[in-house]
Symmetry: C2
Subunit: 329 residues, 2 copies
């Protein structure tokens, strides 16, 4: 049923992926399996995320950034667990647009991020699909055996914090689609954030001693905070005027007639890949110090309360959030 | 960009997949990660295979058997390493045909095989694609720390062995497509083999002490034997008249005018998921005894020789194999 693939599974693996393989644990990708090491005092943590062309990345996104986005959305999950990343298995569902130059670009993106994040390829599969391209990675990392923070420990009175800025992924998608009118430099900064989010690995490790509940923001700040509230059996409120905005997001925000609606878009747009966590207010000094050390912005955007669900206010006025987050599926 | 998904990612995970989650290591799928245990004296072995509708399974295959095929092709890789299976992460790239009843069927297929093979779901992702459905699994298992047999130990004089029968996957595909004229019962047996191959896990463990090189047959007997020959730096020859055939394959074979061409089809068709290995002839008695114990057919189909590549003969006459195996990609 499969057509003959000009780029070739074995060629792709041998020429493009084998050089990316872990020197000790992937047998040069000449076998079907990888054998994992153990690390005394550490747990092996796994996560698996998939991305689909036209859903999670754009049909004209360069394949090197698609590869990087794939790794980074998975690394972002490990960041929330305070993991040190180790390696990954990869499944490439190539579409007809993925010829040899595109596969080379994909492998270059992987290589760049392997260097950036200290990870290696451990195995996987490459198949052809007539439909849009899609990719998945199973990312592995090490977490101290003392245990990672879950989503379930938020208590009334704790603060709600986010790293970096919120809304750039959402605006970046619009910028990459040509739906945004801003200076070229702003558009590029936003599209770059959409295509290559930055997993907050170092800060994820730093906050494990302080956070009471943590996850990364992929579906949207409000939707993901709802997951924490749900798992913790609490409510949470967000002050929309406190949302940390990048210079580019600020430039966009200033063009908006309805600031409340604009903030709602940023808080629900998704694709941020920042860390969202709750912590006791007494730890705020330590949290800020760790963020300063990493030159990372940290913002308290809300408060954990008794009850259920997530509410939002703008300058003290309740805001009705109709669609709390992006629905990927 | 994604349309609203009626079946719903969260609904799918909560209602269909959470009941399949490992009781200790998947946190009820309420988090993005799984934490793996360690097992003293054992290595954790990983493999990741993907399957695509229209390439590895048929657009009208029931989703429960698609789920089972996904798990089994991955388990088959672990079988070749003598692993005891433990669990898996899953990525579902649902197409529009995958509504709620189809997802329910998929989860039922997973549940049946979890029971059959003693495995649990550990995590993963579910996304929507407008294209054909595709799925991948990262399967994990335990192998004794003494190390698994690789593909690289075949030496001239060793025998070439296969478990079960060869060609049923190939004929099963034709049967499922309605391209085969045989009794209904035969067609069903063949289609069943195509849809639900049987990973040879117990025998894979039993032969680790004897096999000098081993892998599972997915691309076709000849193509996969070429991988072993290549990795071992040897040649191998196959006597096509020795190919073990099921009763259904035999019935098909008897309708063929050109027996040599028919055997070539069986030896190159792929999708067998039997174990293919080499061993010293002195171990043949032990290999047979282990196979008998498991009520499994074991056949010596050829010999390892000095040189490079794989050759085939039929009743002593050389056969020119034009296309050694199925190209999935």
């Amino acid at each position: 049923m499969a057509g003959v693939d000009a780029a070739g599974e074995f060629e792709t693996i041998r020429k493009l992926f084998a050089p990316l393989a872990h020197p000790d644990h992937a047998w040069g990708l000449r076998d079907d399996v990888a054998v994992m090491p153990t690390r005394p005092g550490y747990d092996l943590v796994l996560t698996k995320d998939a991305i689909v062309e036209g859903v999670h990345f754009l049909p004209d996104d360069p394949l090197d950034t698609v590869a990087q986005k794939l790794l980074r959305v998975n690394l972002s999950d490990l960041a929330a667990k305070g993991c040190e990343p180790f390696g990954y298995l990869l499944a490439c569902h190539w579409s007809p647009r993925c010829g040899w130059p595109e596969r080379e670009a994909f492998a270059e993106g992987l290589a760049a991020d392997q260097k950036e994040f200290g990870i290696h390829l451990l195995g996987g599969d490459t198949v052809l699909t007539p439909g849009p391209a899609s990719f998945s990675a199973t990312m592995m990392g090490w977490a101290p055996k003392t245990g990672s923070v879950t989503r379930g420990g938020a208590k009334p009175g704790h603060g709600v914090y986010v790293t970096g800025t919120i809304g750039d992924g959402y605006l970046g998608l619009k910028a990459a689609q040509g739906h945004l009118k801003l200076e070229e430099e702003r558009l590029e900064a936003l599209a770059e954030h959409y295509r290559r989010p930055v997993p907050r690995l170092a800060y994820g490790q730093a906050v494990q001693g302080y956070a009471t509940a943590i996850m990364d923001v992929s579906d949207g700040l409000i939707a993901d905070l709802a997951h924490i509230a749900d798992a913790s059996g609490v409510a949470a409120s967000v002050q929309l005027e406190l949302l940390p905005k990048s210079a580019a997001a600020m430039a966009w925000f200033e063009t908006r007639i309805d600031p409340e609606a604009a903030l709602e878009q940023l808080a629900t747009g998704g694709d941020d890949y920042e860390l969202l966590f709750t912590a006791h207010p007494a730890d705020e000094g330590n949290l800020k110090r760790e963020a300063d050390r990493l030159l990372l912005r940290l913002t308290r955007v809300g408060t954990v309360e008794a009850g259920r669900g997530v509410s939002a206010t703008h300058l003290g006025k309740p805001v009705d959030i109709r669609k709390p987050g992006w629905t990927h599926d």
